[in-house]
Amino acid sequence: MTATCREYKSYIPRAILGDLSQEEQKALDQHLAECSPCNREHRMYGDTVRQLSAGQNVPVPRHFFVYPEESLGTPWHAFLRMSRAWQAATATVLLALGFASLLAISRLQIRSEDGALVLAFGTLPERKPPAPQAPQMDTSALEARILKAAAESSRQDNLEFLRTLRAEMARSNKAIGREQRALLERAINNAELRMGQLVSTTAANLERKTDRSVQEVYRKVSLERARDLAAVDNRINLLAINGEVKSTQTDAILATLLQVAELRMQ
C-alpha cells in the first residue's frame, strides 16, 4: 500500500457515508479504478455499512408503560417535575429554612443545671437562685445555746443567791464579832469561788458532752446547783450555830472572868 493509498483509505468511509466534497469524491473514484487493494477495501466498507443498515429491530418483550405510582419517585424527582416558578419558590423556602436552622444551631446554648439540660437560643437565662429550703435544725448550735443559757441562768441564780446570802450575812454580822465575821466572809468567798468553779466545770462538761440531751444536762446542772445550795445552806447553818455557840462561850468566859475579878476584888 502506497502513501497515496493510505491517504485515499481515509476517504473511503467518508465516501460511503457521502461526506466527501465533489473534488475528493472524483479523486477517490479515479484512484479506486486504478488500485485493486483500495477497491477491495472500499467494497468491504460498503458491505459492512449494508450489514449495519440491514439490522432489524426486534419486538419488545413487554410494554414499558409508566404508571402514576412509578412516577412518584423521590422528593428530588418531585422537585424536578415542578415548574420553574415553583422550583424557585421551593428552593427559596428551603434555603431560608436552612439558614434559620444554621442560625438557630449557632446560637444554641446548652447548660447542665441541677441534673437537667437547659437549652436556650442566644443567652442562657440566669441561674435560678436555689429554692428556699426548710430551715434545718442546727441541733449542735441549739444545744450549745441552751447550754449557754442554762449556764448563764445558773450563774445568775447563784449570784443572786450569793447576793441575798451576803445581805443576810451582813445583817447577821452586825450582831457577831470581827473574827466571826471574817470567818463567815471567808466561808462565803470560798462558797462563791467553789460555786463559780462548779458552774464553769459544769458548763465545760456540758459543752464537751454535746451528745447528751439538753434535758438531762439541765437536770444535772439543776441537781448540782441544788446540791451546792444545800451544802452552802448547811455550811451557813453550821457557821451560824458555831458563831452562836462561840458567842455563848465567850459570854460565859467573860462572865466567869467577871466573877473571878469580882472575887479577887472582894
Binding site: P13, R14, I16, L17, D19, R43, M44, Y45, D47, T48, V49, R50, Q51, L52, S53, A54, G55, Q56, N57, V58, P59, V60, P61, R62, H63, F64, F65, V66, Y67, P68, E70, S71, G73, H77, L80, R81, M82, S83
Partner: protein, 209 residues
Amino acid sequence: MTEGSKPMLLDQGLSGSLSSDRDMESDWVAASQRGDNRAFNQLVLKWERQIYNLTLRMLHDPGEAEDTTQEVFLAAFRNIRRFRKDARFSTWLYRIAVNHCLSRLRRRPQGVHVSLDAERSEERIMSRLPSRASHEGEILSEERQSRVRAALQFLQPEHRAVLELKFFQELTFEEIAAVIEAPVSTIKSRLYAGLEVMRYRLGAFASDI
C-alpha cells in the same frame, strides 16, 4: 427501516383531529406536560421499540436492556416538563437513552462485556427473543443480526452510540450531534473510527449480504 421499527399509533381516540404523526406527538407531549399519564403512555407505545433495540445493541443484554428502557421512560416522564418544544421529542428521548446506556457501561467491569461474554450474551438474546424464523432466509438474517450485535460490543461505548444512532436509528449527523451534545466533527470522527472496527469484524462475512 422495517415495519417493526415504525411506531404504531394505538389510541385513535386521542389522534382524532390530528393529521400527522408529528402533530400527534406534539399533542401527546403537551398533554403529558400537563400531567396526562395516558398521553405519555402513547409516547411510550410509539418509541419503546426503538429505545429497547437501542439499549439492547448498546448493552448486549436483554434483561439489562429491559430495565434500562423502563428507566428511560420513567426519567422522561419525570422530566417531561423540562422538555422544550423547539427540540424534537425523539432527539430528547434518544439523549436520555444513550446517557443511561453509557452510564451503565461505565459501571461495568472493563473488558468483560466485550470479548468473553459476547457470544454468551448473544445466546441469551436469541433465547429470549420470540423466534419468527420460519425458513432459511430468516434464519440467515437472524444470524447476521446476531453477528452485528456481537461485533458492536468491540466498539468503545461512545463510538457504539454514534453507530447505533446513524445506522439503526437513521439519524443525520446534526441530529446525532444534538443527541450526543457534541460537535458534528466529533460525531464524524467517532463514526469513522467505529466503522473501521466494524469493517474488520464484519468484513469476512461480506459474502453473506
